[in-house]
Subunit: 193 residues, 2 copies
């Protein structure tokens, strides 16, 4: 259980379908890569959208590519509360009955009746690293994170195992700030009585 | 070690000196009680200020009374980052070299060269409750918080013991959101190996 992994902070972002992107940016426009992410094939794009809630809006929100089969907006609980959306803590893809919002792009806008979530903290594992850590897909674990002044052991962390992943834990900005996570922050699975 | 205590969330707020209040609201104006807080004698006031940083401002920030001997602005790390202030994690009162900002009121404004902090998480204990929990003033402990979906054990929690306190743990909004704290959220000190 002494295998350490990197703990990365996911800022607010959206995943879009190709159809949604065409509505927001116009037919024929393309999603362009700004920066490749740690998960193989995933990237932050140059294109940005505004997320509009009943109380306020969040401009300049990153679109992560490639396109997906459903639209999903991942906010921190602080974000969601600030714009007036009730967003549940969910695993990616589990959007039934989640929050509603309006997504605004330069060419159009889209109202989604569900899809706004606060991401459940999770670890992406390669099968090899999962085996070393003694976990399997969907296991729920505790992760100890040593920081300067805000140490924590985070529970309810879901393990996700796939040969398509790079091993990394993902937390949101509330979690990152709450634990004072730094660059190259490492974590490790621990057992809690 | 099975003594539980309430875990309360402190939203962003300021503490002011009487002199600072006079500058911001005008000579002769009074700080008026909106709501008494859990700590004896402490209250949220009707009066509000705007906290201005290099990038942005936070309007409508609560003043907590009574007046203090130094000005102090307590923000979440999310808040501080959003308005462009580098605010360290500190105990209340430990403001040397902390963040700078401008505080704006209806009658004037005040630049402070230090005083902006992110509050270090802490537990206020009565001497009786501290004895029951087996802690003394300035002890650093781990606190387990059971929530639905974001359980956590928070380290680097400082114990503060005084007959002037009511027993309660205080965390900021980042921490509250990160652990999914609810109303009447309870916590307990645990030992971590």
């Amino acid at each position: 259980m002494s295998e350490k992994f990197i703990v990365e902070t996911s800022a607010r972002h959206v995943h879009l379908t190709a159809e949604a992107f065409a509505v927001l940016f116009g037919e024929g426009k393309e999603l362009t890569v700004k920066k490749m992410l740690s998960q193989p094939g995933q990237f932050a794009s140059e294109e940005r959208v505004t997320i509009v809630g009943p109380k306020k809006e969040l401009p300049n929100v990153s679109i992560l590519g490639p396109f997906r089969s459903a639209n999903q907006v991942e906010l921190s609980a602080t974000d969601a509360r600030s714009i007036g959306i009730a967003a549940p803590v969910r695993e990616s893809g589990d959007v039934a009955g989640s929050g509603a919002c309006t997504i605004v792009g330069p060419a159009g806008q889209l109202e989604i009746s569900e899809g706004v979530i606060v991401a459940k903290r999770h670890i992406h594992f390669t099968p090899e690293d999962a085996a070393k850590a003694g976990v399997k897909d969907k296991d729920i674990v505790w992760v100890r994170v040593e920081t300067d002044g805000r140490k924590a052991i985070l529970g309810d962390v879901v393990c996700r195992v796939s040969p398509n992943y790079a091993t990394a834990m993902h937390i949101d900005t509330d979690e990152s700030n709450a634990i004072g996570a730094g660059r190259n922050q490492m974590g490790e699975i621990v057992t809690v009585d």
